[in-house]
Symmetry: C2
Subunit: 114 residues, 2 copies
């Protein structure tokens, strides 16, 4: 089960000088986290939310090694419904990062069977 609330102790940490850090300063982990934000915005644009077609494009273009390409609408509809937790018919960043966390975790388990 993911951490379902933004725990105050973690959020208590101030985001440390993020605005001054340039890409070169960042660790591989931080760079990976920024990449996730960048790719989301590549497809969401300024509205910061993905429509169904944008989610499909993102998955098919950027996650093809991890998820089979989506062709059938019913597969897309089911995935979209699973991710759209607040039922606003769009995927916001919090809902998107839930997909990333789940797929990354599945990849981890693939390489490290219990």
């Amino acid at each position: 089960m993911w951490v379902k609330h933004s725990s105050s102790s973690v959020m208590g940490f101030c985001l440390n000088y993020l605005l001054q850090a340039s890409n070169e300063d960042m660790s591989e982990l931080e760079g990976g986290m920024i990449n996730i934000i960048k790719v989301f915005h590549k497809y969401s644009g300024k509205k910061c939310k993905l429509k169904k077609t944008e989610l499909k494009e993102l998955i098919n273009n950027e996650m093809s090694h991890f998820i089979m390409k989506i062709h059938e609408n019913d597969v897309l509809d089911q995935l979209f419904m699973d991710l759209d937790q607040n039922r606003d018919l769009e995927i916001d960043f919090k809902e998107f990062i839930g997909l990333i966390a789940m797929v990354t975790s599945a990849c981890h388990d693939l390489f490290n069977p219990k």
Copy 2:
């Protein structure tokens, strides 16, 4: 609220040819996701779980642009308690990716205030 269960429709997707894909083939997003797994294992070693000291080391070494360095034990204890959802006194990958998702989401909100 993150997607709290590994929804069957997403998990229904088979992890597509992951084992043959080399780093160069991967997209920036996929590379970022693999980096998250790599960094976790850099500190967890083969046991695939982080002890409290390993979690502190990872955060202080790899997330210093996103989270203030941890010095006080009470801060570490609180964070550890928040993340250790199954109370086994270690942080597994699923619990770790919850931290990554939360911090990445906070970074996203920092750049995109609603």
